[in-house]
Symmetry: C2
């Protein structure tokens, strides 16, 4: 078990840890905690996470089939056939789509067969139409011999009876649904969607549909975070905005913890509000606060804790910071809770671009820099969008971001960088 | 207007064109054709495509705010202040969250202010808590001077009244929804979701829930294509499986064309079935067939046509081919029909990996090679999955694919390649 540290600095603030340390600590606490499962029809299973492995109940294809239009043959009959030395076969039958061929292919005979047609008994290969010349209605000339199995997909070649088709933890992509359909599997057991409760806190926050009085500010975070939850495959409950006072905030958070698998709250970024966030997470019982801020910009003041088995994230109030923290911490927590494997382990894909100006960073801190992409002379350039982390428009103008790692003090103009797109 | 070519080769087959030529031809025909629009609340607008530009109805923030915990000051009063030569200010007030500050900040005075607090009248900057030392309850020592505007987000700095916030054609991402909320926009006009009709044709095809008799095959394509439609932001209708006979297929296709914005059919890959596909597309009226196959593997036999304003795609029967054609042709058609801008123009992100073996390709053809990614010593390797395009399990085992372009005859082992992930 990785231990969280609770060292405080001279101003009484908790010491920061790196993004990776934070992930290690809380994913370690989440190990073994999973949301429940449910059985659903495959037509609804797209983008869900498989809870149990699937073994094929059939050989797929169920019978050998032709992969070409042509003639089903005994390969041995075509041995050595070429343009200069063709062989001749009698057309003794025809395979029709969707039907079992009658009879079997005897020596020096062949059946006409369409792509996908079931290979008739006796035949073990298919000669493509292009390698044949009709002699008359009953005979063809073969100008290219084939080996056994050529232009045929064998029984069970796609997937064999009993073979593991899909592992538990697989996020079901369109092709996985296709494979399930091919095997005749109509229902699968998947993890339930992760329920994420979203709370906005702050005496100054009002609903986006209300008109702000002086000092009030519309709720940006709840809507933006809801979109991120949906994109990560979860479902959300958007709770009413609550006050920063403990007697109101604590019971509201407690209720959200009872009703969800993960709870996010985002509030002001002032020290007082952050202290209250720490306090209420602790008040909801062990293990309590796990992470008191990270060496990440924007996103430094993030709080990560747990009440029993429910992760609680205290996201910074600034929208850009809140969304960066979602990507770095909440998304992996959601994947962990439904046991998502494999794809979660793959690297995040990127686009290469050249930075349009120098960007400085402090060593020991990871910086997330929003960029706009522009193409010039077939080269992509990334223009940093400089703006305060309270400015949501900077994130809306961004096509993606790049990272400056903890061990770097900046990136110079024209450097090739990896831009991760906001999709 | 780019003209489609209908040249036939010696075997009477239509000549193939490149993927790019095919895209140019049919996207040119689609220019100006758009699905309708609808007004929806922003909480439902995630992943929808904006039909009209949004201009900000407000200055955001509506008033200047502090971005730090500290003291709202007149910057001029702090000029030159430092550790060795501090200045002293009287604390004459305090800003509370969600409230308009009373009075104004007079010379040599300051107000206590939290992050996000509204800047009081008279003040033009904020001194961070860390740059101040309390003298007593009514006075602080400032050990770092600030210039005007420091630690303040100005009125309209995020986005100004009347400024274009989001362009028409923008796919609304979580941060765009956040920006809309911040501006107090509760409803937006978006394009309707593109309706895609999916038809499986073939006398041998049965529903995935049925037990196949010899020669029959379960319907893989309709389910896999439905997943791809959802992922591309559309909605689908899965029509009953129809026979390859014209008198059944033609009216079924006609009905689907009337009821959808795009129609996909996938059928057998035999020449006869393909000819029928060409014939029925032509029979549904001009412009008719636009593309008779492309130099793409897998996916060569794809048919692209239009009946009046409705694109019709005759996808190959092999599942892998059908899905590759969806990615290359149907997805761009869906984006075009809802006027999706910008993100559609960005490059597809990739992961760099080293190829584990030599892969040959024919010049003049684009190859799409499925790969599995594996990490060894911190390097990602891409192992090609070799298998027939009728084998859906090859696509399910794949993490992504790479392309071998028309002008290449193959890629050698250990070459660094761009792998596009199947997400």
């Amino acid at each position: 078990m990785v231990e969280s540290k609770n060292n405080k600095d001279m101003l009484g603030r908790s010491s920061l840890i790196s993004v990776q340390q934070a992930l290690d600590i809380f994913l370690d606490h989440l190990a073994g905690i999973k949301v429940g499962t449910q059985s659903i029809v495959v037509t609804e299973a797209f983008d869900r996470v498989l809870a149990k492995p699937i073994h094929s109940p059939v050989d797929l294809p169920t019978e050998a089939r032709s992969t070409m239009d042509g003639f089903a043959v005994r390969a041995v009959d075509t041995f050595g056939a070429s343009q200069s030395s063709p062989c001749y076969l009698n057309i003794s039958g025809e395979v029709k789509m969707g039907e079992a061929p009658l009879g079997d292919v005897k020596q020096s005979c062949c059946y006409k067969i369409p792509t996908g047609g079931l290979l008739p008994s006796g035949a073990d290969a298919v000669v493509m139409l292009e390698q044949s010349v009709p002699v008359d209605d009953t005979m063809i000339e073969i100008v290219g011999g084939v080996g056994s199995g050529v232009n045929v997909i064998a029984r069970g070649e796609d997937i064999g009876l009993g073979e593991e088709a899909l592992a538990a933890g697989r996020l079901l992509r369109p092709q996985d649904i296709g494979l399930l359909a091919g095997m005749g599997i109509a229902e699968v057991t998947v993890h339930k969607k992760v329920r994420v409760g979203i709370l906005a806190t702050g005496d100054e926050i009002i609903a986006h549909t209300e008109a702000p009085k002086p000092g009030q500010i519309r709720n940006i975070n709840s809507l933006a975070l809801a979109g991120l939850v949906l994109r990560a495959g979860g479902i959300y409950t958007d709770y009413p905005i609550v006050s920063d006072r403990e007697e109101i905030f604590l019971p509201a958070l407690q209720q959200a913890v009872q009703e969800n698998d993960i709870v996010l709250f985002s509030g002001g970024s002032s020290v007082g509000v952050r202290d209250l966030g720490e306090h209420v997470i602790q008040a909801l019982g062990p293990p309590g606060i796990l992470v008191h801020g990270v060496t990440l910009k924007p996103g430094k003041p993030v709080l990560i804790g747990m009440s029993d088995t429910t992760p609680i994230f205290g996201l910074p109030g600034h929208p850009v910071s809140a969304m960066v923290c979602f990507d770095f911490f909440v998304r992996p927590a959601m994947a962990s809770l439904c046991g998502q494997l494999r794809q979660a382990e793959l690297p995040a894909p990127w686009v290469e671009a050249r930075l349009t100006r120098n960007i400085n960073s402090a060593a020991g801190r990871r910086d997330v820099v929003r960029v706009k992409l522009m193409k010039k002379d077939d080269i992509w350039y990334a223009e940093p969008i400089l703006g305060k982390s309270g400015s949501i428009s900077t994130l809306s103008r961004a096509d993606g971001y790049f990272q400056i790692d903890e061990d770097s003090q900046g990136v110079t103009e024209n450097t090739a960088i990896k831009v991760y797109l906001y999709t």
